[in-house]
Symmetry: C2
Subunit: 318 residues, 2 copies
């Protein structure tokens, strides 16, 4: 069966469970095409029902194995789940090394699971920009749980994790790991902390260090729980999911969810305005008008600041 | 005498050497006011004749003392000089500690010297944005040498230094200092390196380390010279200024200057487009239209990406 190319047909197909239609929808919105924009305009009204969970942490912390275990757990509850894997080292993203315990194949035959691998190829800024749009598609199509796995080592990665309702920071019982997480700006974004590989020594110390650092920055309201997990064996996974559910209940019952989501939408609109203008300016740079404007600036016939306004006036008409 | 407020009168006053008029002009362009834009539009045609030199490096490297010595040296050649001091710890910026050898007063009575202190107060992004405009004013008013002193510890600081024709990176004969400079991204921006406090041990090792690292990243063309200086005594200052002059000659004779300045102007136009849009969006956020748009997004009547386009269309009409 050929995959439809019309947005409406793709949405219908994806809604009926056709994975190829869904993959095509995500490709359209990732690339920020006109068709992608039509997809988002159609689906956005149906969003807001899914719960988005970000998993982030240093490479090797065990995020992929944890994600795989969470998929099993969520499926055990009978709920559908989608995963966006941004971590380039994740087996979900094709970065699996031979002998890795986690395989995409483990879930590929389950119609209640959809895994989207995002190849980063160094364009993390672009992926960071595209993640909210992909989340909107998965949410609008009807997934009730959406996981985003990303490696938490830079601002773009932290931004990706920040686009979700609940952010899980994954670290290990390792000397200095909590300090590394603090340096990477992960303490501020973590709603739930998983100390994974908790069958290794040093769990109590890591939990204590983390607790102290969280208390330093902490205020009233939600106190991020810290959970030991052993993703390899599945130990602590049920408790981790319970903690995520507790955070969700907290946001719902306190009314914070509305404020948090509103702030995220405001942020998205602002980012889109700036990104759109940046893209339009970049596009303009190839055309004759831009070249003529720059030539006039170089010849000092017009100053750069007046020239910028001329370009905005033109770009606005795009 | 009252300072004129009309841009044309201020430009005339500043051109005749009135420091208060010049200070007022800089304030207008820093704040990015309508009047400031008129100032820039008037002055821009007269720019391009002054030579701009950035001095950057870690706090305590001796940039202010070096700047002060360079002022003396330049004045000794009979040339006028302006200084923009962005370093918050600089005595030029009011950060002098009791007993500091450098004082603004050393140069305040010299009509051929103008020092602009920029108080950072944490708004370094804004200063980074405003620096090219301030440089245009000082250049357009007729200063033939313009120094920019900034502490090279973050991207914004490196950006400020990158807005000049010649960038001098100041470091010390201290173990690991060249590695710190490399980490801060200063090796790439340095056209000339000053190993200041060269009366201390370790100069040869620092020069060697620096040379090795520069060769790793270096290509053809200009080879950044490394000069030992002792700003406290004035040793090496004449040689440093000669190296700056050699870099200037290189840019002029190779024809690179035109390419470099064109690239800088292109960058300034692009940055101004994005910054202008960001400012307009920020301004919009206070008005009713924006609030109504956001309310519609929150109610999921319109998606954030369509909303962004609506806002751009409105902001473009500002």
């Amino acid at each position: 069966m050929a995959v439809a190319s019309d947005p409406a047909a793709l949405i219908a197909g994806a809604g009926e469970g056709d994975r190829r239609s869904l993959a095509r929808l995500l490709t359209l919105v990732e690339a920020d095409t006109d068709q992608g924009r039509r997809v988002l305009a159609s689906l956005f009204a149906a969003t807001g029902r899914g719960w988005t969970v970000g998993l982030t942490g240093a490479p090797g912390a065990g995020k992929s194995t944890l994600t795989s275990r969470l998929i099993d757990h969520i499926r055990g509850e009978g709920t559908s789940v989608a995963v966006i894997a941004v971590d380039p080292s994740s087996p979900f993203s094709g970065g699996a090394i031979l002998g890795d315990r986690v395989r995409m194949q483990d879930h590929i035959d389950d119609p209640g699971v959809y895994i989207r691998s995002v190849a980063t190829r160094g364009h993390l800024g672009g992926i960071s920009e595209a993640t909210p749009r992909c989340l909107a598609v998965l949410d609008g199509i009807g997934f009730s749980e959406i996981l985003v796995e990303t490696v938490g080592v830079g601002q773009a990665e932290v931004d990706i994790a920040g686009n979700t309702d609940t952010t899980v920071v994954v670290l290990n019982p390792r000397w200095g790991d909590s300090i590394q997480a603090a340096k990477a700006g992960l303490l501020e974004v973590g709603d739930v902390f998983a100390v994974n590989k908790a069958d290794r020594p040093g769990v109590a110390e890591t939990v204590r260090d983390l607790r102290q650092m969280l208390e330093l920055g902490g205020g009233l309201g939600w106190q991020p729980p810290i959970l030991p997990t052993v993703a390899e064996t599945g130990d602590g996974i049920a408790e981790l999911w319970k903690a995520i559910a507790a955070h969700r209940r907290h946001l719902l019952e306190s009314g914070e969810l509305q404020a948090v989501r509103r702030a995220r939408l405001v942020q998205e609109v602002r980012a889109e305005v700036v990104n759109t203008m940046r893209r339009r300016v970049r596009r303009r740079m190839d055309d004759d008008t831009w070249q003529r404007t720059i030539d006039r600036v170089v010849a000092r016939q017009v100053d750069p600041w007046t020239a910028a306004r001329e370009i905005i006036d033109l770009a606005a008409l795009d």
